[in-house]
């Protein structure tokens, strides 16, 4: 199993975490997290709420600061160096649970703003790229509208397009479907599947077990700030080893 995986991911890992520890005040959120993510791999992180999975992926683009251990993304170690942080953020796209679209900008402007100011693309080119991505996520007709005028599913697809517009090497998804109505979840998951098939490296925190089973290369299970189980979806869902995992799966499935 690891053999096929290793064969597929022959490269250097694109994300390397070694003994990452983080505290919120006195609360130990992440405990000795060590994990490698390889290019084109889709890693799904699941676990009960409060287990530190969101915090973990937010550490990867330094929305949260970790106190111990090292995180190396695409060869750059995350520290206090502002240039490094900026460089890493350019390589990582992120999609949030609450979409976090900019309500004062139109859909098109939402997507083109960062392209122009971070990637320094000309206005026209940024707009073209934005329209292209909107077509890819299936909503080109909404370009002139404001986020408030869209449904939740449409907003999340715009958010994905916004992240993709930066041509990231890695995409982080922080519970992208949790704030959506059931019929909208599918349209977002479809976009994410297409993205996974296109070879994007993805870290996905989600409660969508179907998605994990279908798309994930590897599933990580977080509990109380530790990774208590990791493996392929088949392995994880059919034959969980850890008691906590068994309990979790028995409750959720």
């Amino acid at each position: 199993m690891t053999g096929t995986s290793a064969a597929r991911f022959h490269d250097e890992p694109i994300i390397t975490c070694r003994k990452v520890n983080k505290w919120f005040g006195d609360f130990h959120v992440l405990k000795d997290i060590s994990v490698d993510v390889f290019p084109q791999e889709v890693v799904v992180i699941i676990g009960p709420s409060g287990s530190g999975k969101s915090t973990f992926i937010r550490c990867i683009n330094r929305l949260e600061e970790h106190q111990e251990g090292e995180i190396i993304v695409d060869g750059i170690e995350l520290g206090h160096n502002v240039r490094d942080i900026a460089a890493i953020r350019r390589e990582i796209g992120m999609v949030f649970q609450q979409f976090n679209l900019f309500p004062h900008l139109t859909v098109l402007e939402n997507i083109s703003l960062a392209q122009r100011w971070v990637r320094h693309r000309p206005h026209d080119e940024a707009d073209q790229r934005a329209m292209q991505l909107l077509e890819r996520v299936g909503i080109p007709e909404q370009a002139g509208k404001y986020p408030g005028q869209l449904s939740g599913g449409q907003q999340q697809r715009v958010a994905i397009a916004r992240a993709l517009a930066m041509d990231p090497k890695i995409m982080l998804f922080d519970e992208p479907t949790s704030a959506l109505d059931p019929e909208m979840i599918k349209e977002v998951l479809d976009v994410m599947k297409t993205l996974a098939l296109s070879g994007m490296t993805m870290l996905v925190v989600t409660h969508e077990m179907g998605f994990a089973r279908e798309v994930a290369d590897r599933v990580l299970f977080f509990d109380m700030g530790r990774i208590v189980e990791a493996g392929t979806p088949e392995h994880f869902f059919e034959d969980p080893q850890h008691e906590r995992t068994k309990l979790f799966l028995s409750q959720i499935l």
Binding site: G75, I76, R83
Partner: protein
């Protein structure tokens, strides 16, 4: 695209790149940048400030006005319009500052209390279901908060207060004179009030009694004033009275028994009892008959009352003396003074307070342990009142001097106290010594162009107080309105559904939630009122800022002076902000 030296951890990086990386990672370290930035800010600021201060000191030194605090002890040399007796032109600047501060605090504290009351009232009016009340309150708020406070102060001072009549023609409240209070009218008023209450309670039998009473009294009054119908008032053998009595009784009896008799003869059964109430005098119930009989009974009773002089024609003669004088020289209020017996009474009152405390605590525990509802506030208040009243009685019963030495036509004369009082010879000081009651209300007493007794409110204070109070009240009204509206209507419905009464809903559900929204902006308005009190200078009220300006002009110590002013206002602001924060915290805790 990456910068020249990203900290790429690849083995291919050379030694040069490593050194470069070391340097840049230091320069681009977020913490380093932040510290550097802050140091830069501090340096720039310190340079600027020291430059300004040096320039300033240099200029001041040249004029011989180096800032210092020594001048505080110099003689002030000016009078303050509204100063306590210990202050004179010979007092020091420091004392002048104190006088100003006390004046500011006086107007601010009085203003805060008044504006809160007024603001809450107007806020409630803004939510009134009465269209007129609502609209007028809205107009009041809009007009007053959309015009500058300064203009309002000018209007209050120059147009309202200074247009009051001169002292000789002062408006007095109440007006001096003799009131004739006809007791009869008071009795009728009582009946009217009872009637209104009955009307609201809605017992069908009581209202007619009252209407009957009124009708009869009115009829007799008209008869009396008109044709002298009943000359022999009060005499039992007056023929007219006997006729009235007989006719009334006859009518009453007929009204009571006839319907039953007629019904019986027609239907062969007793008069049915409408809604299951017990029959009165054994003859069933009738919706027409009962009220009619009641009316007649009332009419009979009214006649008796009027006839037998329970409603006498005589009136009480009451002499009324003014308590309040309004004039363009100021407003003069009565003063409540403590007599020699006050301490004794205060002991009783203190005892009452103590008892109230004990009662409060005791019933508090009872309520907690048994869940029984006890009106402990009422009990406690009753204890205080009872002790105070009892104390007053006992203190007043204590014998006092019967005779007194007074000055009459320049000579000391010994006469009895009552006589001296009747002749108005007892001075206020003596009265305080010999009075039997623990407190006396001293009416303002004019001595030429001033008032010797009584509390004086100057036109300036009054204008500032009115201006600040009314201006701020409009903002408070809006805050109160918004605060109450912020409580979702569902809350009120839920409280009603639980069976809470209107006042309970207000007290336990609406207010706690509304206050949480109200208190923070209310604190802001309090701050505004305190700061706006500095506008006193425009109308010549000797507040802190005005006094400070005078001090600065005289001593030339502007820098020290303005620092003292700013510190004082900052302290006041801080005190108010601290107070509201404290209240706010308590409220958030209590309600959570």
């Amino acid at each position: 695209m990456r910068g020249p030296g990203p900290s790429r951890k690849t083995p291919s990086s050379g030694a040069y790149a490593t050194v470069w990386h070391e340097i840049t990672s230091f320069v681009f370290d977020l913490r380093f940048i932040q510290v550097l930035g802050q140091i830069a800010v501090v340096i720039v600021l310190v340079t600027l400030v020291s430059r300004v201060v040096t320039d300033m000191l240099l200029a001041l030194n040249q004029q011989g006005l180096t800032p210092n605090f020594d001048f505080f002890l110099n003689r002030s040399g000016f009078d303050v319009a509204e100063a306590p007796s210990w202050y004179s032109a010979n007092s020091s600047y420091w004392e002048a500052f104190q006088v100003g501060l006390v004046n500011t605090l006086r107007v601010v504290i009085a203003g805060l209390i008044a504006t809160t009351v007024l603001g809450v009232l107007v806020g409630i009016f803004l939510l009134s279901s009465n269209w007129l009340v609502r609209t007028i309150s809205k107009v009041y708020v809009e007009i007053l908060r959309n015009t500058p406070l300064l203009v309002q102060l000018f209007v209050w001072y120059f147009i309202v207060i200074l247009s009051l009549p001169v002292l000789n023609d002062a408006v007095t409240l109440p007006q001096e004179g003799v009131l004739l209070l006809p007791i009869r009218l008071a009795l009728y008023a009582l009946v009217l009030i009872l009637a209104l209450r009955q009307f609201r309670q809605g017992d069908p039998r009581r209202l007619p009694v009252l209407i009957g009473l009124l009708a009869a009294v009115a009829a007799i009054e008209i008869g009396l004033s008109g044709a002298q119908l009943l000359p022999a008032r009060g005499a039992i053998d007056s023929p007219a009275f006997l006729v009235y009595l007989a006719a009334s009784l006859l009518l009453l009896g007929a009204a009571w028994f006839l319907p039953a008799v007629i019904w019986q003869s027609r239907h062969g059964e007793a008069l049915p009892n409408g809604n299951g109430e017990p029959p009165l005098l054994g003859v069933g119930y009738s919706r027409v008959r009962d009220p009619l009989a009641a009316f007649l009974a009332g009419q009979l009773a009214g006649g008796l009352i009027a006839y037998f002089g329970l409603a006498p024609v005589t009136a009480l003669r009451v002499e009324v003396y003014p308590l309040v004088y309004l004039s363009n020289r100021g407003i003069f209020l009565p003063e409540i003074m403590l007599t020699a017996r006050f301490n004794e009474w205060a002991a009783f009152a203190g005892l009452g307070l103590l008892a109230a405390g004990v009662i409060w605590a005791y019933y508090g525990r009872v309520m907690e342990t048994t869940g029984r509802a006890v009106p402990r506030l009422r009990y406690a208040a009753l204890a205080v009142l009872a002790c105070a009243a009892l104390g007053w009685l006992l203190v007043a019963m204590e014998p006092g001097p019967e005779i007194i030495t007074v000055e009459q036509d320049g000579a000391a004369v010994v006469m009895s106290l009552d006589e001296a009082r009747a002749q108005g010879l007892v001075s206020l000081q003596d009265e305080l010594l010999v009075s039997r009651s623990p407190l006396i209300v001293a009416r303002p007493e004019r001595k030429g162009l001033r008032f010797a007794v009584g509390i004086e409110i100057t036109p300036e204070f009054m204008s500032l107080f009115l201006g600040l109070t009314i201006y701020t009240s409009t903002f408070i009204a809006e805050i109160v309105r918004a605060g109450i509206l912020a409580v979702p209507h569902g809350q009120i419905e839920a409280a009603r559904a639980l069976g809470l009464s209107q006042s309970q809903t207000l007290r336990m559900v609406i207010l706690p939630q509304a206050l949480r929204v109200i208190i923070p902006p209310l604190g802001n308005q309090y701050l505004n009122l305190a700061k706006n009190s500095s506008l006193a200078i425009a109308i010549g009220f000797a507040d802190f800022y005005q006094v400070a300006t005078t001090v600065m002009n005289q001593s030339g110590q502007s820098v020290t002076g303005i620092s003292v002013v700013m510190l004082a206002y900052l302290a006041i602001s801080l005190a108010i902000a601290g107070g509201t924060n404290w209240v706010n915290r308590r409220f958030q805790l209590v309600t959570r």
